[in-house]
Amino acid sequence: MTGTPLVEMRDVSIAFGGIHAVEGASVDLFPGEVVALVGHNGAGKSTLIKILSGAYRRDAGQIRIDGAPARIDNPRQAKDYGIETIYQTLALADNVDAAANLFLGRELRTRWGTLDDVAMEAACREVMGRLNPNFRRFKEPVVSLSGGQRQSVAIARAIHFNARILIMDEPTAALGPQETAQVADLIKQLKNEGIGIFLISHDIHDVFDLSDRVSVMKNGRIVGTGRTRDLTPDEVLGMIILGRCPPAATPGPGALSEAV
């Protein structure tokens, strides 16, 4: 990879009450690239990504966007940098409709300053028409939608605002096989549009199907980062379980020191 990375996170750390959830982690992401973040539950993947999306404030370290230091203290600032996130929990406001969720925090307003619900519904119908053409339940609170429909609302929200950096935290965890395939197609399509994607996944097949590079975390530290095509699933599993960094990957601070 050459050129300036879209995102560069350098030596990022955060602790909650003495527990180092993320310690000295460094990852980067280039335009049109999918970087998979893998690791056990509690390895620190979601926490690291929540620092980038502004949900948590880091204790130490730097974030650079397009090579320039970025100030990300809350979700709004992250969105200003074009960083959009699809959370594992989907993070939808359950009792308002799809359009209200799509524009939550960025509502369209009329010239009187009131909510322009009609325009928001129109935009929502348009974007949902692309993502999920069968979607009809525009007037219902999202709590009454199926898992897949909720997922498409969450994805619509992330891509409608011309995201440049997309974070997907377990995007297929709640989905059936067909919907999972749809998400995979979507990832490929977004990648072709030059969007950089951080993909957090438990599914080693997803990682090998979709990602260009993979970074493995263990106990809050990066074990190693490597090009997916240079690695085998067994090597990645070894990184996840044992923290052993294979020769094809660049070791991080969390790599098991090979005492020979």
């Binding site: 999306s53 502004g54 949900a55 809350n74 979700p75 709004r76 969105k79 996130t85 959370y87 929990t89 989907l90 993070a91 939808l92 406001a93 359950d94 009792n95 308002v96 209200a100 939550l104 925090g105 960025r106 509502e107 307003r109 300053g113 009131t114 909510l115 009609v118 325009a119 519904e121 129109a122 609170p141 709590v143």
Partner: protein
């Protein structure tokens, strides 16, 4: 529920679907009708008289004003137990201002007195709400505890203002806020208000239809639009007719005629009350709050936070500031409600508004506000306030003792929430 046969169900279902009327709102209107007719039969026809309905509307005003704010509080999964005490304290402050402090500077019955007293009350309401809201939103103390403390503290503060002495009388302009013969707008203005409301109903329906057509959304059938128009206009004209059917007491009308130098016509002078000013204030608050809740960002955020606080946070909403503003708004509404009830009583007492918090919460909850958060309507809460007040006023009319009234209100509250739970489970 009585099963009324397949043909009938089909017809009513179609009506409901086409008009998009809320079934639980209709249920509440039905409950209200049952209460009214029941009391009317039991009291020998005294309940459904223009006089009693007019009084009922005035008595409901103060609770209804506060209930609109309680909806937003409960929607965000909080509670405000302090509203009754805050009302008492603000009423006391407004009373002392206009009866004792301001006259020293302005003289009695100065034109500015009422507006200064009212503004002071409302501003102090914002400050009190802001303080409680800050502790809740930024310091993270549960609303239940903060406002429970407020319940005690502000009641104590109300006593402290005059060491428990009742303050009277109120400024004559301020008193108009409480209703009465002078505090009503008369027949002509009442018809005018009803006419304007009709026009607004028609304009809203027409505008909604035009907007939906512009974006190619499905339209309501035309006949359904007409049903809604007739319902809306019929309701406002009906209310106006009832208010105008309640004339001033004979003596008051004669005295008024004398003062105006008018001749009293044969058969006595009939001057209609028309709508009471506190009722108009409450309706205006209801419209403003509905607008705030459904047409503004603030309202959208309130409901989003109620549905899923974490999602609202992650969407970049400043949830703490929204929460604090809700309590400030509640303070404003307590100020308005305090003005209404102080003006109506023509005095400020330190016990004013005792137990109001329970009536306000009950009104919101009976009106369909879910204690689990995220769900509730302003109109429902105001209707809930009317239901609560109808119960109480009906029992007074029947001569029931206060303890028995409390028992009935308590039972009805629990029953209403249980029915609502059943309803949600079935439609959920």
């Amino acid at each position: 529920m009585i099963d009324s046969g397949p043909a009938r169900t089909h017809w009513s279902r179609r009506l409901l679907d086409a008009t998009e009327l809320d079934t639980r709102m209709l249920g509440m209107v039905g409950a209200l009708a049952v209460i009214w007719i029941g009391f009317d039969l039991a009291s020998g026809g005294v309940f459904l008289t223009p006089r009693n309905l007019w009084n009922l509307s005035v008595q409901t005003a103060s609770i209804a004003v506060m209930a609109t704010g309680m909806v937003l509080v409960i929607v965000t999964r909080h509670i405000d137990l302090s509203v009754g005490s805050v009302l008492g304290f603000l009423g006391m402050i407004m009373g002392v201002l206009q009866a004792e402090l301001l006259p020293q500077w302005l003289g009695y019955d100065h034109g500015l007195t009422w507006i200064l007293a009212l503004s002071a009350g409302v501003l102090l309401g914002i400050a009190i709400g802001g303080l409680q809201g800050y502790i809740i939103a930024y310091l993270g103390v549960p609303a239940f505890i903060v406002t429970l403390g407020g319940l005690l503290a502000w009641r104590g503060a109300a006593w402290w203002v005059t060491s428990g002495r009742t303050v009277a009388p109120m400024d004559s302009t301020f008193r108009l806020l409480g209703g009465g013969t002078a505090g009503s707008i008369g027949a002509m203005a009442t018809w005018l208000v009803a006419g304007v409301v009709c026009l607004i109903v028609l304009a809203t329906l027409a505008n909604g239809r035009r907007q939906r057509r512009r974006f190619g959304f499905p339209l309501r059938p035309l006949w359904a639009e007409w049903v809604l128009a007739i319902l809306g206009c019929g309701l406002s004209i009906g209310v106006a007719a009832v208010a105008n059917a309640y004339p001033w007491p004979k003596r008051v009308a004669e005295r008024y005629a004398e003062a105006q130098g008018m001749a009293v016509p044969e058969g006595g002078l009939v001057i209609a009350h028309g709508l009471a000013i506190p009722v108009l204030v409450a309706l205006a608050v209801g419209v403003a709050m509905t607008f705030l809740a459904t047409r503004t960002r603030f309202g959208r955020y309130v409901f989003a936070i109620g549905g899923n606080p974490e999602a609202a946070d992650l969407a970049g909403i400043d949830t703490r500031w929204v929460r604090m503003r809700i309590f400030m708004l509640m303070g404003v509404l307590c100020g308005i409600a305090a003005a209404i009830s102080t003006a109506r009583l023509n005095a400020a007492t330190n016990a004013q508004g005792s137990l109001d918090e329970l009536y306000v919460i009950a009104a919101a909850v009976i009106g369909g506000t879910s204690l689990a958060g995220g769900v509730g309507t302003i109109a429902g809460a105001m209707l809930g306030a009317l239901v609560m007040q109808s119960l109480q006023s009906g029992m007074v009319l029947m001569g029931l003792d206060t303890p028995l009234q409390n028992i009935v209100v308590g039972v009805v509250l629990v029953l209403a929430v249980w029915l609502d739970t059943l309803y949600r489970r079935r439609t959920g």
